[in-house]
Symmetry: C2
Subunit: 215 residues, 2 copies
C-alpha cells in the first residue's frame, strides 16, 4: 500500500468492497487512460466535459483552448471539480440478468484546479503529455511557437482526494443458479492501436509513430 487518497468526500458509499484509495493503484489507472471526464458547475448547472489528461508525479494535468470551459471556468470561479476516468475491460455474463456486470478500472478525483502560466513549465508539461501519446515524437515535430503556448491553457489538480473502483473477476451468481444451463463468464474488451493511416496529402514515407500504452 502506498499513501491513501481517502477523504470524507472521496470515500466510496456504494460497493465499498470494490474500492481502494491506494495512490499507486490510482496512478496506474490514470496513466492507462487517455481520456477523462471533468465535472464542474456554472451558475449551479453541472457540465461534464471529456478531455485528454496526463500525470506528472502527484498532479493530474489537462489542457485546452485558454477560453475553454474546462480550462477557464474552474479558474474564474474556483470550485472543487470531480474528474472520473473509466476503462471498460469486459462484460460479465452471469446466469441471471441481475448479476450481469462489467469488469472495469475507474478513478474518481476531486480537487480545485490551478492554472499554470509559467512558459517553461507549460512547455515541459506539453512534452510530458506528448511523450504519453507517442514516446520520442516531440523531438521530431515542428517546434512549438510562442503563440501556441499562449493560446493553450494548462491546468492541474493535486492527486490527494480520490478513489479507485474496479472489478476484475468472473460472474458472482446466486448459489442456487450455479447449474442454470447458460454460458457464464467474461467477454473481454480488447483495445489495440491499428495500422497508421497516413495523411493523404503526405507524399514522403516516414516511420509511423510509436503508439501509446494508454488507451
Amino acid at each position: 500500500m502506498s499513501r491513501s487518497l481517502e477523504t470524507p468526500l472521496s470515500k466510496v458509499k456504494r460497493g465499498p468492497n470494490r474500492a481502494s484509495y491506494d495512490a499507486v493503484l490510482a496512478f496506474n489507472i490514470i496513466d492507462s487512460a487517455l481520456l477523462c471526464h471533468v465535472g464542474q458547475t456554472k451558475e449551479g448547472q453541472v457540465f461534464v466535459t471529456p478531455t485528454c489528461h496526463w500525470r506528472d508525479g502527484d498532479y493530474l494535468y489537462w489542457h485546452g483552448h485558454s477560453k475553454a470551459r474546462n480550462v477557464k471556468g474552474p479558474i474564474d470561479q474556483p470550485e472543487k471539480v470531480c474528474i472520473n476516468m473509466s476503462l471498460l475491460d469486459g462484460l460479465v455474463m452471469a446466469r441471471s440478468a441481475f448479476h450481469h456486470s462489467v469488469n472495469y478500472r475507474s478513478v474518481t478525483l476531486f480537487g480545485v484546479p490551478e492554472r499554470i502560466d509559467d512558459r517553461e513549465e507549460k512547455l515541459r508539461q506539453f512534452k510530458i503529455f506528448l511523450d504519453k501519446v507517442s514516446p520520442g515524437r516531440w523531438e521530431q515535430l515542428r517546434p512549438v511557437n510562442e503563440q501556441e503556448i499562449k493560446a493553450t491553457g494548462l491546468v492541474r489538480i493535486k492527486i490527494e482526494e480520490a478513489s479507485v473502483k474496479m472489478r476484475a473477476e468472473p460472474p458472482i451468481d446466486d448459489a442456487e443458479d450455479a447449474n442454470w444451463p447458460v454460458w457464464a463468464g467474461v467477454i473481454p474488451l480488447e483495445k489495440t492501436w491499428g495500422q497508421g493511416q497516413q495523411d493523404p496529402i503526405q507524399q514522403e514515407d516516414y516511420n509511423t509513430p510509436t503508439s501509446p500504452d494508454a488507451v
Copy 2:
C-alpha cells in the same frame, strides 16, 4: 437532418464547427457506447459517476442500486444533470504538437431524471438493456425475481437537450508545415470483443453469448 436537440444550454461554445444537434446522429452515438458519465451535484459539490446506459426511443436510461447516488440523488433533489458519452476513435498525429488531436464521437445531454417505478416497465427496460449487451440472452437466463426488480432503481431522461461533437479526419496542420519531415496521420483505436473466458466453476460447455455492437 432529423429534429434538433439544440437549446441555449446544449449549444456548443468552443469548436462549433465540430458540433451537431441532429437527434438521429446523437442516437447512433448513444447506441454505440456502453458507458456514460453522469454529472450531478450534492450540496453544491459536483460528482461524476460512470454507468452503463441504453436508449429506448427518445429516452436515455440507466439503472443501479436503488440507493446509488446516480439513481437516488437526482430524484431526491431534482436537478438537470449532464451526461456525456465519448468514444475515442483514433490519435491524430500532426506535424506540430499544437495540432495533435483525437478522432472521437461524443454526446452531451442535459435533463432532469425521472424514476420509473412501474414493475412491468422496469422489466421491459431491463430486457432492452440486456438485448443491447447480448441479443437473445435474456430468454436464456434465470428469470428475474421480485426482489431484484425492487432493488434495482431505473431512471431516464428525455433526449431533447443535447449536442454531438465529433472529429473524423486527418491532421490539419499549418500550411507552412506541410513538408515537415515527420509522419502525419491517424492511428485508429480498434476495439473488439475477445474470446469469452468461461466461468471457472462452470463444467458444462455452452455456446458463448452474442457480443454487443456497442463498446
